[in-house]
């Protein structure tokens, strides 16, 4: 692809005996925003640090604009990659004012020019009045913006974000996240975010990668991750849902404790093979005429909806989302049916 910006080819990273990253391949286009999602210790931050040039490669290669910038033999030092980074702890220089922090990476022009550029960037991130403050005089969100402006200042093609919002309040996270995305898109700068928060990943990423134990399980759009998860882990990690046991009766039909479920995806395993079917909360709907009855074992009020955990007669548990004006106490029974158009099944 001619407009590929970043390409990782089967990269691996080793800490002593441990393979922290093992065979990750992905491609990011110019101006595209990618997200690496996974539980802590899955190797997502290591991938980011490989791209930045802070970790050596044990295998594979990293290409930026077609140029090989890292191989196991070595690579371009971080200071020559032209890749920006926003750190989890922001890593602002405590001895420099906000505007000096932003100007740190600027090389061209006179001192005054660089200062003016830096001040303009601070305006852009909404910190026009804070230029002369020291980092410790800024709030967490403001420090975050300074770090962003600093990373953008040398006009990088790619900016890396290591859990950039994890130290912020929840509502600030979402607002800042959208601001950052808008800014990156406006400037046409590509980015890779690392996060363990799927809402953040869905909010920010054009493409999202789910990682587990050093491997990239799936690199796809948010829609595909949710509706076509590549394996059980992705299915479990992204969104909510329960796996229920079933038997494959036809390529598009599974027999489950909720009755026969038919969808628009075909699985060409032997008829009669045992499978696990993923049921999302919206796949199970309350219906007085439904085929099965479940007992409410837990409930979580979520505002517009209430999420019920139901136990069926054979002990299988499913999730069911119901408009919250219909109230069912724990212990009550609820008649439901399955309403699935997209079958997600895994061999048992």
């Amino acid at each position: 692809m001619p407009d590929t910006l970043l390409k990782l080819d089967d990269i691996a990273c080793r800490y002593d005996a441990l393979l922290a990253v093992d065979g990750v391949s992905l491609a990011l286009r110019r101006g595209e925003i990618g997200c690496l999602l996974g539980p802590s210790g899955c190797g997502k931050t290591t991938v980011l640090r490989v791209v930045a040039g802070f970790e050596p490669l044990a295998r594979g290669a990293v290409r930026l604009e077609g140029r090989e910038i890292a191989t196991p033999a070595g690579g371009l030092p971080p200071d020559q990659r032209g890749v920006g980074m926003v750190f989890q702890d922001y890593a602002l220089f405590p001895h420099l004012r906000a505007v000096e922090n932003v100007a740190f990476g600027l090389r061209e022009g006179s001192r005054r020019d660089r200062r003016r550029t830096a001040a303009a960037l601070l305006d852009l991130v909404g910190l026009g009045g804070m230029a002369e403050r020291y980092p410790h005089e800024l709030s967490g969100g403001q420090q975050q913006r300074v770090a962003l402006a600093r990373a953008l200042a040398p006009r990088p093609r790619l900016v890396l974000f290591d859990e950039p919002f994890s130290n912020l309040d929840v509502d600030l996270r979402e607002r800042l996240g959208l601001d950052v995305r808008r800014l990156l898109k406006a400037q046409g700068i590509a980015a890779v975010f690392v996060t363990h928060d799927q809402h953040e990943a869905f909010l920010l990423g054009d493409r999202i990668g789910v990682m587990r134990e050093g491997r990239l399980l799936q690199w796809d759009s948010a829609f595909a991750l949710y509706h076509q998860p590549a394996d059980r882990f992705v299915a479990d990690f992204v969104g909510q849902g329960r796996l229920v046991p079933g038997l494959l009766r036809a390529p598009d039909t599974v027999e489950t404790p909720l009755g026969l479920i038919r969808g628009n995806v075909a699985y060409h395993w032997a008829p009669g093979s045992r499978v696990d079917l993923l049921l999302r909360p919206d796949d199970v709907v309350p219906d007085p005429a439904g085929p099965v009855e479940g007992e409410v074992v837990a409930r979580a009020f979520k505002g517009a909806e209430t999420l019920y955990t139901l136990r069926l007669a054979d002990g299988t548990e499913v999730l069911c989302e119901v408009p919250s004006r219909l109230d069912h106490p724990v212990g009550a029974s609820l008649r439901v049916r399955a309403d699935v158009d997209h079958l997600i099944a895994f061999p048992h």
Binding site: Y15, D16, L18, G41, A52, G53, F54, E55, P56, A70, G74, G75, L76, P77, P78, D79, Q80, R81, V83, G84, M85, F87, Q88, D89, A91, L92, F93, P94, H95, F104, G105, R107, A147, R150, A151, A153, P154
Partner: protein, 557 residues
């Protein structure tokens, strides 16, 4: 490319330095560990071939007295500093009384007064020939009751007054760090105010109090100046006599290794008493309210604290200034200035070497987690516990051995005998300072490095900075304040250091402390005052720094 990446226990370690520099750093750290370990090993090696004759003489005559005196001192000063330091810390940290803020700072001032200075001022003022008893005799005639400033009671009192601030400072921090929540929880669980003190506050402060006590006891064991002024025999004075009086270095080494056993005992005791407890700052949010002492109780507290400040700092300093003023016209001459210059030069060189060493140790601790490096770093941090006289004997024996080797080699090569090369050189003294004060420098150096988070360096690199640019724009400005503080602290410690300087100084390298020793050993208090005042003045800035740092958060009520 990125550089050395070492991981331990699954934790990513910063790739802050390139691999070649890493190897150099590790070697330097191991060398520093050896600088502590080798003199100690050499010291104990004298037991392999003990000079039984000398030893039996020592054992029969002075040893029982030395051991008894040392134990008495440890018990007396230990109890004294615990009561004085711990009690005053509770008063200023948890109570309120008239003048508390002033006295809180004032109680730290005795730190600026070296124990040997306090000792000679007390003796010079109160002894039979001093102004006080002279006045009494003038008033009541020769029959007026007289007394001598000598003996166990006086030594214990003076050392307690000199060393209680260690307990005071640490206990005070611990009492201040008690969260309002902790104390309120105790009250809600049914404890009264006294119960809260004994069952919550005191146990919570125990690790800090024990640490302060152990520092005070280390200083007691290491003290040479005060006990020699007061004519009280301890291991340090015996080492001095064996070396300078009998010229018997092996006997000095045997005594030094015995003294070291006491130090080890104190260190071990600290570890045991501290248990698994560690310092932890529990204070989040508002500090608990102070107990307001009003009326007579308030004034009694103020008077007690003021008496300690007066006896430990104000009165002795006033007397010193008075003497110094009276002798200034005769003493403040070119000789004094050259003495001052030599002292500063020596202290400055030691500061440079020691801060470099502290930087190596702190960096190595961050960078490497292998057993040899960890052991070296741990050993290097232990140097502060070695009394100056012990260290001097160990270093001298090492250098004497090296000198013998060098001489033998040189003579084999057909040369004349060289005599001492390293022994009696400035290098011996600097090495002793390095070992003794490495821990002093390591504090501020380590916290300066803490400011230099790995991500800070990585951020600079991702913004295009490297090499000298990186050093100039990131490392240097971030480390400078910490390194300057460390250098200043070492400089002042070296100025005040007495026993190692006395034993190891090359000819002509007298310092202010050595001059104080010379004058006081002749009983010439008045002429000792000018160098002593200089030392007190030099000791004030670190106390002011400490006071500002520790009182900034103390007044939250």
């Amino acid at each position: 490319m990125a550089g050395a990446v070492t991981a331990s226990a699954g934790r990513r370690r910063p790739a802050a330095i390139p691999p070649s520099a890493g190897r150099l750093l590790r070697t330097a750290a191991l060398a520093l560990g050896a600088a502590v370990a080798v003199p100690l090993a050499v010291l104990f090696s004298v037991w392999a071939a003990p000079q039984t004759e000398v030893w039996e003489h020592l054992a029969a005559t002075v040893l029982p007295g030395l051991v008894r005196n040392t134990l008495v001192l440890l018990a007396g000063v230990g109890a004294g500093t615990l009561l004085l330091g711990g009690g005053l810390a509770w008063l200023t940290a948890r109570c309120d009384f008239p003048g508390r803020r002033w006295l809180d700072v004032g109680l730290m001032l005795p730190l600026a007064l070296p124990a040997y200075v306090l000792a000679f001022v007390v003796q010079g003022t109160l002894d039979a020939a001093g102004p006080l008893q002279s006045a009494l005799r003038a008033h009541f005639g020769p029959a007026a009751p007289g007394f001598e400033v000598r003996g166990t009671g006086w030594v214990v009192a003076i050392l307690t007054l000199a060393f209680y601030p260690y307990v005071y400072l640490l206990a005070r921090q611990a009492f201040l760090a008690l969260g309002r929540g902790t104390l309120e929880a105790a009250r809600l669980l049914g404890l009264g105010p006294w119960g809260t003190f004994f069952r919550v506050a005191l146990p919570a402060a125990r690790p800090a109090i024990v640490a302060g006590l152990s520092l005070a006891l280390m200083e007691t064991l290491a003290d040479f100046g005060a006990v020699s002024v007061l004519g009280y025999d301890t291991f340090t004075t015996a080492i001095y006599k064996a070396w300078f009086g009998l010229f018997n270095l092996p006997a000095a080494a045997q005594l030094a290794s015995l003294l070291l056993l006491f130090v080890a005992l104190a260190l071990f005791g600290e570890r045991r008493l501290r248990g698994r407890a560690r310092f932890h700052e529990t204070a989040r949010g508002a500090p608990p309210p102070r107990l307001r002492l009003t009326g007579a109780r308030g004034w009694a507290a103020a008077a007690a604290a003021f008496a300690v400040v007066a006896a430990g700092f104000v009165v002795p300093t006033a007397q010193l200034v008075h003497w110094a003023w009276a002798t200034a016209s005769a003493e403040l001459d070119a000789r004094y200035l050259s003495l001052l210059w030599r002292t500063l030069l020596l202290g400055g060189s030691a500061a440079l070497v020691t801060v470099a060493g502290a930087l190596v140790v702190s960096l190595a601790r961050r960078q490497f987690a292998d057993a040899p490096t960890r052991a070296a770093v741990g050993l290097a941090a232990l140097g502060y516990a070695l009394p100056g006289s012990v260290l001097a004997v160990g270093v001298m024996m090492c250098f004497a051995a090296v000198d013998n080797g060098l001489n033998a080699l040189w003579q084999m090569a057909g040369g004349q005998r060289l005599g001492p090369v390293l022994g009696g050189s400035i290098a011996a003294l600097l090495l002793a300072y390095l070992v003794r004060f490495l821990a002093v420098a390591a504090g501020p150096t380590g916290s300066a490095l803490e400011r230099l988070r790995p991500s800070t360096v990585e951020a600079a690199r991702s913004l295009g900075a490297r090499g000298a640019d990186l050093l100039r724009r990131v490392y240097f400005p971030l480390l400078r304040p910490g390194l300057l503080t460390a250098a200043l602290l070492v400089l002042i410690e070296v100025m005040k250091e007495m026993p190692a300087t006395l034993l190891l100084r090359p000819f002509g390298w007298d310092t202010l402390a050595v001059r104080v020793f010379e004058f006081t050993s002749e009983g010439d208090w008045r002429r000792a005052a000018l160098p002593a005042v200089t030392l007190v003045l030099a000791g004030l800035p670190p106390v002011a720094w400490l006071a500002r740092r520790t009182t900034a958060h103390a007044d939250g009520d």
